[in-house]
């Protein structure tokens, strides 16, 4: 087996070679930078209303001004600043929810997978039942009743998204437990904690990492939808979903209040999907091999289809 350093170097090379994954990784990095540095790079206070300058188009359109690169919304708030600060909300909500839902879900999955039998059956029945709930409706109901805020949004999204972590964890644990070396460890009398940590957890890292990234993307979309419907983040905070909702009423005269936050959302989620896909393929040797074979076959086909110089 190649050494650790070699593997990392190889992985980075593969990442660079895979254009879309590279785009995803770079976009994600920029996004995180934007969120973290928001107070420093945002040109205006996102909540500052200058009604005189309402609905200014982006700079590249006829009536646009350089002072507001991406234009302003119906209350005169700078779009660029709102987009920048909106990233904070999305990333914060996404990260917190994934950590909370992930922690709880993984614990449930570990318990179900490790203890098996009745415990497993009962836990999985519970998971399946909760999974069958209409989560968006329930989220809306709870938020309407409890009062929407960043905290309640995070809580509700965590409540409706932990199940998939439980399922994936359980299935990895079950298949890992069937591996001969894990059975051996258990038979020799390894304490449950030790068996879990040393033998099972390593198998969990990559599927959970992929899942976490995908769920992050889902949560970002979910928060945007809740905010759009008015039951998520509340004004004057900046949330991309909220901004799209606000811009909806002016759609027929101004395209940018609706479009720009949406573009930010789309790029964020796309970047995460690309990175998750790359992680998934790279951590599964069979998939990696298949991907390689496909790329070679496709480039051969392209080479064969190209006309020779004499023609």
């Amino acid at each position: 087996m190649a050494g650790e350093a070699d593997r990392t170097g190889g992985m980075l090379r593969e990442l660079a070679a895979d254009g879309s994954a590279l785009f995803g990784a770079v976009a994600l990095a920029l996004l995180v930078a934007m969120a973290v540095l928001a107070p420093l790079i945002s040109p205006y206070d996102p909540a500052e209303q200058v009604l005189r300058d309402r609905l200014l188009p982006p700079v590249w359109q006829a009536k646009g001004v350089w002072a507001h690169l991406l234009g302003t919304d119906h209350l005169g708030r700078d779009m660029l600043s709102r987009v920048i600060w909106g990233s904070r909300v999305s990333l914060m909500v996404g990260l917190t929810v994934v950590l909370l839902a992930g922690a709880f879900g993984v614990l449930v999955g570990l318990a179900a997978g490790y203890y098996g039998g009745r415990v497993d059956a009962a836990l999985m029945r519970f998971v399946d039942t909760v999974l069958a709930f209409p989560s968006l409706l329930l989220a809306l109901i709870i938020l309407a009743v409890v009062g929407p805020s960043m905290g309640s949004v995070i809580a509700v999204l965590a409540l409706t998204n932990w199940m998939v972590f439980a399922r994936v964890t359980r299935s990895v644990v079950l298949s890992a437990r069937q591996l001969p070396y894990v059975e051996a460890a258990e038979m020799v009398g390894g304490r449950p904690g030790r068996v879990i940590f040393r033998h099972i957890l390593p198998n969990l890292v990559s599927p959970l990492l992929t899942l976490a990234i995908l769920e992050f993307a889902n949560v970002v979309l979910a928060e945007a939808a809740l905010s759009f419907l008015g039951l998520g983040i509340q004004p004057p905070a900046s949330s991309w979903g909220l901004d799209v909702a606000a811009g909806k009423d002016y759609l027929f005269i101004a395209w940018w209040p609706v479009t720009l936050p949406g573009v930010a959302l789309a790029i964020t989620v796309l970047a995460m999907n690309l990175v998750a896909s790359w992680v998934r393929i790279t951590s599964d040797p069979q998939e990696r091999e298949k991907r390689f074979a496909r790329v070679v076959a496709a480039s051969k086909r392209r080479a064969a289809a190209r006309p020779t110089p004499a023609e």
């Binding site: 990696r288 091999e289 074979a293 070679v296 076959a297």
Partner: protein, 340 residues
């Protein structure tokens, strides 16, 4: 000698993997004439399956045919015209039986449907006529209550029966050549014997030409008149079965024969061939078997071509018939009757 049915001419097949190009088949030539039985023997990785898969047009990415020709009744099966010709010929004139019938049959179609499919595509049979022929085929391969089996699914049958169904499908259009790729490897020993007997019977009855691929010498001994031994993507010895077993020319063949346990002799230690097959990503220029060969010479650094070493025998060796592992290989007349 009638014109050959299948001719493989200096075939080369490569597989492109992340870790390099694997040269699975490195210049294999063989011929099968009508009614002839040919056994191809070799260990895993010798290229025996890939060779016949190429003949059946089953080599796909990441593998590709890198050179040579494959001809059916004189017409090439390669290239765009060849591919069209091949699709006519496959299933109708040449048929193949695979190793694991459970995965080789479509799990959600009935056995009858899978037979009728071939009849419909190649012979234009349909409805009652097709069903009756399918039933007759199941009877031919020794399946009891064939009427019932037609409507059953593969998972409802036992391993041996599934293999018989595969054979029935292969024989549906009365092919001239049947290729059996490890037909018994996935079966229990007792069922193995039954299936081999069935193949022999069918071969005689229908005057089929058969290519039998296996790693098991015992399987070949009873059934095949000619044998080709493959190693590391090449044919290393070709002969008629009896002379081959009686006095193998190539050290690899000798090793195979001597390392096969036998019931009718008590021996001291068993012979095993030291080492492992070569990595076909970077095959050496010399004889591929040389690193493991007790009889190797300095000359073996140059690859020996397949050359005649006796009447109707060829071997790829600089030192054929070398006296290895004690006396010359004992007679295997006992093995020829299939008795273990």
């Amino acid at each position: 000698m009638s014109a050959p049915l299948l001719e493989i001419d200096d075939l080369r097949v490569d597989f492109v993997t992340r870790r390099g190009v694997v040269h699975a088949v490195r210049g294999v030539s063989l011929k099968v004439s009508p009614g002839e039985t040919l056994g191809i023997v070799g260990e895993s990785g010798s290229g025996k399956s890939v060779t016949v898969q190429a003949a059946m047009g089953l080599v796909a990415a990441p593998g590709a045919i890198a050179g040579g020709d494959i001809r059916w009744k004189g017409r090439s099966l390669l290239g765009p015209d060849g591919a069209a010709y091949g699709r006519q010929v496959r299933g109708r004139d040449v048929a193949m039986v695979f190793q694991d019938a459970m995965t080789s049959l479509d799990p959600i179609f009935t056995c009858g449907a899978q037979i009728v499919e071939v009849l419909r595509a190649h012979l234009g049979l349909d409805g009652e006529a097709a069903r009756e022929r399918a039933r007759a085929l199941l009877e031919l391969v020794g399946i009891g209550a064939p009427e019932r089996r037609l409507d059953q699914y593969p998972f409802e049958l036992s391993g041996g029966m599934r293999q018989r169904v595969m054979i029935a499908i292969a024989l549906a259009c009365e092919p001239e050549l049947l290729i059996a790729d490890e037909p018994t490897t996935a079966l229990d020993v007792t069922i193995q014997a039954q299936i081999l007997e069935l193949l022999q019977e069918l071969q005689a009855r229908l005057a089929l030409a058969v290519i039998l691929i296996t790693h098991d010498l015992g399987v070949v001994a009873g059934m095949c008149r000619r044998v080709s031994v493959m190693y590391a993507g090449r044919i290393v010895e070709e002969a008629e079965a009896d002379p081959l077993f009686e006095r193998p020319a190539h050290p690899y063949t000798m090793g195979l024969l001597r390392s096969t346990p036998r019931l009718d002799r008590t021996e001291g230690r068993m012979v095993s061939i030291e080492g492992a097959p070569p990595d076909l990503r970077d095959p050496s220029d010399g004889c591929a078997f040389a690193p493991r060969c007790p009889a190797r010479l300095a000359a073996c650094a140059v690859d020996p071509a397949l050359a005649a070493v006796a009447a109707d025998r060829r071997a790829a060796c600089h030192r054929p018939y070398a006296d290895l592992w004690g006396a010359a290989a004992p007679s295997v007349a006992g093995a020829a009757s299939g008795g273990w």
